[in-house]
Structures are given as C-alpha cells and as structure tokens.
Symmetry: C2
Subunit: 387 residues, 2 copies
C-alpha cells in the first residue's frame, strides 16, 4: 500500500482521493491492513475520536480533509446530476456544473464543520492549527464561490504536502544525531501512521537507515492502546528494521543496562518554554534518561509548538474512557466497578529534553528564549500557529 | 472464601487440606473466584510455573506443600486400603496403617520432588528458602519413618504459619509509616494473594486501615500479566479500600502531580546490600520517587533476603514467554513474527530505597552494613536463609 516520494517510502495514512477521505484504519492493525473511505463529516470525526487515524500531524491533515469533504458534499447537494467527485489530491478540483453556490453558504457550512472537528480531541495542537489555517482560507478566499472552493482545496492539499516535506526535512536534521550501530528506544507511534506518511521520531530513524546506518529499535508497547506494539513494530518490520517490543515497565531496566543510546519520541503539543505533551508514559522515559545519562529527543514539526501558552501546565490533558484500560477485546481486566484513571498524555518538562528536532533545525536544551529566537527567524518552513 | 485470624482478614491463597494442596487459581481472577485442588507434584509445579499461584512468599509455601503432597502420595501408594488422606493443616498427620515405609525411600522421593519444584521459577528466593528448609528436615528427621513424616508435615505447616505471623508483624511495622489521609501507589500484587494470605506491601496498607487510617491506593495495572489490575484491585475492593487502577505509564505524571505520598512494593529477592528484585516496572517507580521526592518502601519478610549474594547484579532474572506480551486472550497484539523482550523482574538499587520494611523492623536507607548488623542480631523472627 505504500508509495515512494523521491527516495522515501511513504504510507497512505490519510489521503483525499476521488471525493473521499481515505485512511488506513489503525484500529485493525496489525492483523488487517485496510484502507477505508470516509464519506461524511460525522465519519471523519468518529475516525479521529476512536483513533482509526491518530498522531498529531495525521489528525491535522485529516481535519483539513474533513472540512474539504464537507465542501464536497455541499457541492454535490447543489447539483442535479453530480459528477463522481469534485476534489482529488492528484487531480485537484473538477469543474462545478451547477448554480446556486454562494460564498455565504460555503462559509457557514465550513464554520459548522470546524466546530464538529474541533471537539474530537483536545490535546494535539496540530488539529487546531490545521482547522485555523483552513478557516482563514475560507474567510479570506474572496467573493467568487468557485474560486473560493479552489482555494479551500488547495489549502487542504498544501497542508498535506507541506507536512510531508517537513517530515523529510525534520528527519534529515535528526538523522545527524544517530550514529551507525546505535540502539534507540521509542514510545507510542510517531511514524508514517502518525503523520503525512513518513514520520517524525521514526522518520529520524528511517532517514538514518536510508543513509546506510544500522539502527536497532526497542518499541514500548504503549498501554493502553498498544500503538507501539501494533503500529510502530508493524512499520519498522515493513521496512526491515530490527525492532523489539517490550512492556512499558521493562524500559527502566533496559535503560539501566546501558543498551539504549538514545530515546526519540514525537509530541502532541509543545509549550512556549519547550515543555512537551506526548503519549502517556513519555515522562517516564524522560526521567529514566535523566537518571541513566541517555539523550532524550523530541521530534516534531513547528506546527506542534503552541507559543500561545507559556508552560506545560496549561496544556489540556485528554482523559479517555476507562474501558480502554479496563477491558481487552471485550474481556474485563479489572474487577467489575473498579475505578480507572486514564489520561492519554503527560507533560515532559523542557529541563529533561536533550533536544527538540524540527524541520528548521535542532533546538538543544530547549528554553523559552531559544524557541522565541527561532520564531523571530522564520527560515524556510511555515511558521507555527499561522503558516 | 476469606477467614479471620485474630483481627486480620486472611485469604486462602494456598493451603493444605485433606491431603491436597489447595490454591485460589489466580489466572481466573477477577472474573472467577475458584479454589482448586492439586493432587500431584506435576500439578503443583505447573501451578507455580503458570502463575496460578504467584508472589514470592506464596510460592515458598506452595513449594513446601508440593513436597508434602509427594510424601502424601508415597504413603498412599504403600497402603492397600488408604484412608482419605494422611495430612491436613488443621488436623496434622493421620495414622499410617501399613508397613513398607522406609526413610531412604522418603528421602529419595522428596529429593526428586525438590529438584522438580526448584526448576519452576528462578528469581524468587523464598522458593529455594522453603525447599532448603524442608530438605533439611527430610535429611535430619531421624531413623523412624513415621516420625520423619510427622516432622516433614510439621515443617511445611510451620513455614505457612510463621509466614502469616511474619506478615502481621511486618505490616504492623510498616503501618507506622502511613498517616491518616495518605495516598499510596503500588505495583503488581504483594497482598494476600502473593503471600500466606494477608500481604506484605498491601499488608502494610491493611494494617493502617485496621488502625482507622484512611488510605487511598493507586494500583499500577502491571503489564504484561496485569496482577495490579486483576489481583490488587480485587483484594482492595473486597476490603472496601479506595483503589484506582492506572496503566504503568501513567504513574510518572501521577507522581509528578504531587498526589502520591508513598510508593510501597513487595520483593522477590533482596541482595546483601539491599538491591531488590521485584516485578518488572518496579525500578521505574523507584526512579520516579527519587526524581519527585516520594518515599519508596519495599515490604518483604527476612526470607526474601539472600545474603549469599552481594549485589543485585548477581540476581538471576527470569525471562518469560513472548506470548505474555504478544497476545491477549488469544488475540495477537504485535505483528506476526515480532521480537519481544519479556523480563519478569527488574532490580532496584538500594540507593533508591527509602526503607525496607521487615517483620524485625524497618531498615532505613538500606546498606550491606545495616543488613549484616541486623543479621547478627537474630531478634524474634526466623533468621533468613536457614530458619
């Protein structure tokens, strides 16, 4: 199912094909590799909420495509004999044969779509970043309704394409930190399945391997939803990279043993001072790295930074349903009526982060001052919170 | 199913009743509370190996009873018309009606039983401690075969009874460390199900609650076998104690939040310098406690100390089958062919342990010197490695 972009292998994690949002249904992996087509906004929202598509960058792209899908369905509703579809990532926008299209209607419909999508998951800032960027295009796209539709589609496709380019750039920057023969520990899944198709934390490893370095990977299984066991192991095995799965609790003695040369994880939101929200259990690894002298790297695009908030204390942490912890495949794993605490993310303080790897470069020992300085120097990539 | 000893509620985790080893089958908890009768040495060994009975003190008692069961079956094989049974914990030893009983045969049979039981699990020192104590009785029990049988039975029942008394004493010592209103985090199960029926780490909490203190407990679910979710939550709920289950990875942010006043865990083996082997993931909590200024307590009877080894580096760590991590209720959780690392225990260095709680007292900031000093002062309890 994967495809090539230059010398990189990319997964079709999320795409917009023939008028439909298509995703790999990650809840079925690794048993089943299934591409599903989402044809309504409600289906897109459900797919984000139930983690059929997950990972901060992938959620952002999916949300942008969710708005485009709502526009697709609006256009189809206005045409007596609609063509098969109006939008496609390869083909762009088709011609709109009917009348009755008004910019006010488009803007109202997409504002409502934005509200629905913004309610799906609270922690990943990329979701809001993508929705904001789409909304600015909707608001600023001029008076011609057909041109407005074209601008909205271009914005969604650009978010996807730029994200992929960002992952390649970020991975190249991070790969310089890895030497031949290293063993890396990661948590959750920050690979092609979490992103536009290549990866952030895993992208760094993929790039190092593309450079001919031999890298061995340990993957925390990542309770409760086992993204490490199910998804990270699947991606790495597909690429022929040496991977070993372990329970999250086994990371401590592994780190103490001296076998781990670096830990690399992704991020769901990074505060202005570098404090980083990522999958629950990430803070464990950061504390272990501090104790055992292992570099702890966060790999994330600039769109993950939320400089509107000063520190990690202000990041809202999603608490998910108790059933994720209390049962497995329908079998209960706790006594009936047990109370369960199930936060989806934790916050690692900047002081425990060796470096944040971005598409603009590597920010070592991140701090509010270094992040602000990078912000005032926009470089080549899109700026955070508004590109 | 539980019973009372003085003012303590005790679980029938392992017992010797009417010629059979009886255990609560812990692999069926919490869905099913089932007492099963083991009638052959092979069944006892299987029950230990597959964790139907687990926890270092409970394994020790079960192993002693496994040797007694082999003696029971030897006696039955020598008698044409055997009574229902020869041994029972309440009734002691019944009369032996037949002849043909020779001390050499008893000694040979039980030496072979010892070998079988010693192969079940490598890490818990209590297993070897109980087998050694039984073996010394077998070797030293004199020339009269019936008297020898009585001495062997008395030894097995004494191991059980003393263990229970040790748990009460240990729990009383530990309860003094807990104040009304405290919140305690624990890992795996070091309660009645891991012991003679009361508990070590959880016994400390039970004793504090018996003293009228309000204690809230967070229980790590403890992957891969979920002893915290299944067993610790079950025990605490049975006693009406406030318990919340969380994924092992959620402990870091919980500790960082300031909500945890103490961590208490059990132990499978403690080296001469205080380094402690316990369930995989324990080291994580010890490192988190060090980072966030939380007291980290180990609660374990003296029989858990193995002063024959100097440091934790010498403790053999059992690596268990990959299927424990790679599947759940028969459904795979990793891609087919994935490599899995599944150590059952890790070693926490003494430097991270605030105190070890024993039946003799509390050893704060444990060290080789303090442990050696306590050893040379045998006190009231049975000395380690030889009582």
């Amino acid at each position: 199912m994967e495809y090539r972009v230059e010398d990189h292998v990319v997964l079709p994690t999320v795409d917009y094909r023939a008028g439909r949002v298509t995703i790999i249904d990650q809840t079925l992996l690794p048993a089943e590799e299934s591409l599903i087509r989402l044809s309504t906004l409600a289906q897109v929202a459900e797919a984000i909420r139930t983690l059929r598509v997950r990972g901060a960058p992938a959620i952002g792209i999916t949300a942008a495509y969710g708005m485009l899908l709502e526009l697709e369905n609006l256009l189809a509703s206005l045409v007596v004999d609609p063509p098969g579809y109006f939008f496609d990532r390869n083909e762009g926008m088709g011609s709109f044969p009917g009348g009755g299209l008004e910019t006010a209607r488009i803007r109202k419909t997409l504002a409502e779509a934005r509200t629905v999508l913004a309610r799906t998951r609270p922690t990943a800032v990329n979701l809001f970043w993508a929705l904001d960027r789409m909304s600015r295009t909707v608001k600023g796209g001029g008076r011609d309704p057909v041109a407005l539709c074209g601008a909205i589609a271009s914005c969604a496709f650009a978010i996807h394409e730029e994200e992929l380019r960002i992952e390649f750039a970020l991975s190249g920057n991070g790969a310089d930190l890895l030497r031949d023969g290293m063993t890396v520990l990661t948590h959750c899944n920050a690979g092609g399945l979490a992103t536009a198709g290549y990866g952030t934390a895993l992208g760094v490893i993929y790039r190092a391997v593309e450079q001919g370095k031999r890298i061995a990977v340990y993957a925390d299984e990542t309770r409760p939803l086992l993204q490490g066991a199910r998804l990270t192991a699947w991606e790495l095995m597909k690429r022929g990279i040496d991977v070993t799965v372990l329970c999250d609790g086994a990371a401590a003695s592994l780190c103490a043993s001296g076998k781990i040369d670096a830990v690399i994880v992704g991020a769901d939101r990074i505060a202005g001072n570098g404090d980083t929200a990522n999958k629950i259990g990430t803070l464990t690894l950061a504390v272990l790295c501090g104790r055992f002298g292992i570099p702890f790297y966060v790999a994330a695009p600039w769109s993950t930074f939320d400089v509107s908030i000063g520190t990690g204390k202000e990041i809202p942490i999603e608490e998910r349903d108790a059933s994720e912890v209390g049962s497995f495949s329908g079998s209960p794993t706790v006594p009936e009526g047990a109370v369960i605490y199930n936060p989806a993310f934790d916050v690692t303080p900047a002081s425990l982060i060796t470096a944040i790897i971005t598409e603009r470069g590597v920010i070592t020992r991140p701090s509010a001052a270094k992040i602000a300085a990078e912000l005032s120097n926009p470089g080549d990539g899109p700026p955070p919170q508004g590109g």
